[in-house]
Symmetry: C2
């Protein structure tokens, strides 16, 4: 049911934001901003416009963006308030099926990370697995704040790419 | 049930964003960004931090912010998907009790406005009334785009101020 880019380009902003508004979690302002840049040549161009908007945010804005993301295996997963997209992503790597020791371990590591950086640990779960997530969560906690912020924003962009690909047809291969 | 500023300053980012995240409609990234600027001296300082963040957005971002707001007496009001805050504000000026001729008139004016500017008509409803809203909607449609964008952002800030005042205690009068 993915749209082609021509369909995307023809959407009024309300539909554009309704459909694509959560490709960056809880930041419809980003999708709503890039709408003005239509027509997009292809999905890559739309993705680039979103990436450019994120890159142009002040550092405070990048951290603000990260603070709009939920913890992995955290409160929102437990109490059922994750966005549809986040739920699918977290469930896809078994974050909804951790045993109680694993839930506790994730909670402790998440808290430590948030205490250190002031934003949540972000990783593109779909490109990872449970073991890697736990390892990254431990290891990245050692990073310098600036390095880690950049790392987290990179993960946001990976998540964004996969969410976009679930909604918009990827670019046709060129004359194969 | 308003919090004092000391309570606000003590909130972890998750609570801060949960409680204050919609003072700019559907833009929790803004609240989440200014959280790093704690402690705020008073409500005025918090409001100023939000205003500064908005002012620092590129013009595309300001328009994106506006596109996150619902129409007055529009689709979201009809189908019950307005945010709690927007519903209260719109109902407060009778937007939920228009007769069918008024609904049609609002829809026509909203469409004309959106076609011209690419973002919805925004007004601080609580500081207005039905007649004024209709008049402003007609009149502001004549503005140049740049002027109108600035006007709409001013209204966003008024709405933000009132939403903040409903959550945080206003500054104590100084030694009267």
């Amino acid at each position: 049911m993915n749209m082609d880019i021509a369909t995307v380009n023809a959407l009024p902003y309300e539909d554009f934001v309704n459909i694509l508004g959560n490709v960056v979690e809880k930041c419809p302002i980003i999708t709503a901003s890039v709408w003005a840049g239509r027509p997009f040549l292809n999905l890559t161009a739309l993705e680039a416009a979103i990436g450019d908007f994120i890159d142009a945010l002040p550092e405070s804005g990048k951290e603000g963006l990260l603070r709009c993301l939920p913890d992995l295996a955290g409160r929102e997963l437990q109490n059922g308030t994750l966005s549809r997209e986040s739920l699918l992503e977290q469930a896809g790597v078994g974050m909804d099926a951790l045993n109680s020791a694993e839930v506790l371990r994730m909670a402790q590591l998440n808290e430590k990370y948030k205490e250190r950086f002031g934003f949540p640990f972000v990783i593109c779960a779909q490109m990872s697995d449970k073991e890697n997530i736990l390892r990254q969560l431990s290891e990245r906690c050692q990073n310098e704040c600036k390095v880690e912020r950049a790392c987290a924003i990179k993960e946001v962009k990976k998540i964004c790419r996969l969410r976009l690909q679930s909604l918009v047809l990827t670019d046709a291969p060129s004359n194969l």
